[in-house]
Subunit: 189 residues, 2 copies
């Protein structure tokens, strides 16, 4: 999926940080005047809905700066020139030690209008242990297995960051047909 709000071709990069790039361009307005417009670019991220039997892998992690634990899917930043699927496979293995032979794209969303940034969400079915997790110095992660119903409850956690996924989960929680569709998408027919 292309980004909803791509940075125009004539934009200039005015700053490059460790995560974010800042881009600006001169934009003609409706009244014929121009103004400096600004948008950001950041590396895409990949996250994984990983299943083991009828359960789904969640990770509980905290960041070195905030120290508040939060629950989410395994995943992380795509490295430069790394395909999102490869990033998803690498992050799942690094964070949990699990691998899968059965991958599928679930959805791709660009959650913030002013940031060229796509979140690629994959499904990894029937995962199996391949190695010990290999965390870097900035990660503190615990793995947790939850039922499909407990997975749907993520929509009610204010700190669960994937709001587009939350909307899917909430629909499934309330609408039996949506629940059936989501269950099939995740676990296979």
């Amino acid at each position: 999926m292309s980004n909803r709000h791509p940075i125009p071709h004539d934009a200039q990069m005015v700053f490059k940080g460790v995560i974010f790039e800042v881009w600006q361009w001169q934009q003609e307005l409706y009244d014929g005047t121009t103004a400096t417009f600004e948008r950001l670019r950041r590396p895409d991220t990949a996250e994984v809905i990983a299943t083991i039997g009828g359960q789904i892998i969640l990770i509980e992690q905290e960041q070195p700066d905030t120290k508040k634990p939060f629950i989410g899917l395994p995943g992380g930043r795509c490295d430069r020139n790394e395909a999102p699927l490869v990033a998803a496979q690498r992050e799942l293995k690094e964070e949990t030690g699990y691998v899968s032979d059965n991958w599928e794209l679930f959805h791709e969303v660009s959650p913030v209008g002013k940031i060229e940034w796509t979140v690629h969400t994959f499904i990894a079915r029937d995962c199996r242990v391949d190695a010990e997790p290999s965390l870097d110095g900035g990660e503190k992660i615990k793995m947790r297995l939850v039922s499909f119903d407990a997975f749907l409850d993520l929509a009610d956690l204010p700190e669960f960051q994937s709001r587009d996924l939350s909307l899917e989960l909430l629909r499934a929680k309330y609408d039996p047909a949506a629940k059936e569709r989501l269950h099939t998408a995740i676990f296979g027919a």
Copy 2:
């Protein structure tokens, strides 16, 4: 509400753009090493659930750069040192020409983990026309009145950016008790 992930006090501003500031700091990691961490700050925004009788004001707008029309609530950026409520009142009047004497805070959310940015959502009940809208050169806006039920349908629009509000709307759509609570919150008891 304080921001979930505030920028630490010892961070340095390394770039200031027209909307975004980039801040960095040295963060000690779990293994004792340090790394440069980065976070953004941008002006808070204020948006308004504005009612007229049993209806709610939506605005259909397009941006000069993307040209794709999208539907949302009246609102915009808080000016420097402008209280969110004052910004909400100003934006509602500028974009629609409507004013209200009955304002209430609905919720405050920080939608993006790495950005110090709060969206303040207000309710403005029983709005009345006060003036013509006064749009600036970067705005192209049409006002639309919708029923409460049509308002709940915003949750199904992928381009509706307020995903935290979408979650509230979706709950109200499916759960009669949540619908009753939201109706009372918006229109009053």
